[in-house]
Amino acid sequence: MNYVIALFLGGFFGFSLNKAGLTKYNKIVNQFRFTDMAVLKFMMTALVVAMIGLYSLRGLGLVKFPAVPNTYIVGNLVGGLIFGIGMALTGY
């Protein structure tokens, strides 16, 4: 059952990425050139919607948050720095 949910949600995930145009190389790289802000608009909208939804649901006692990604400052930063190179190269 969990797998059915995963497949279903994955489908919508991929669909939204495609419709936002983030499956294209030029959208990603143009974000880093600041000629096309679609990536940030997309990411931040998703963040804000999910934040509001999740925190209100938790406030109502309807959900419990899963284990969150660990914070280790150097690792996250260095990882992010290397990730950016790959992202600008491939347009992932």
């Binding site: 991929g14 419709k19 499956t23 880093f32 909208t45 998703a46 914070t71 990882g79």
Partner: protein, 181 residues
Amino acid sequence: MNWIIKQIHKETWSPYAAGILLGIVGILAVVLSNTLLGASGAFENIAGLIGKAIAPQAFDNTYFKFVMPPGITWGVILLVGVFFGGMIGAATSGTLKWGKKDAVNSDFQWKSIFGPQTWKRWVLGFVGAIILEYAAGIAGGCTSGLAISGGMLLVPAAFLFIAGMFASGIVTALVIYRDRY
């Protein structure tokens, strides 16, 4: 109803509309199966599964035992869904180029920077993906798994990651594009 069908057939949505859809998917992932969305981890799960079969000694370490246990996880199935979801998205907007010439490399901007050869795109995609996956391993997630999923739970790691990603992404784009930046 006609309006909905028209929207589905549109090639590019407003990023805000698509972002709202992803936000809802993110909420549902937590509500329905108490997990966070993520893409890069699934590749490591699969890699671990293959590695265990080929060279069990080399993969017998803490990372693959505890951090990224191999197996067909929720994330792997999610990735299958992402693949087909993206394909449906392309099909509905009529941009799905299945087996057509130039299907691999149809990006005009890419060609103007790196040249028209398809093999170059394969090589660069492969090398870039190694960098991406390695970095995601260090940071503990990728754009979806750490930046978006972590960000929506207000995890500090996500914002550090986004800062790093943009800092080096801008520099890399600057180096590649030089005076065309």
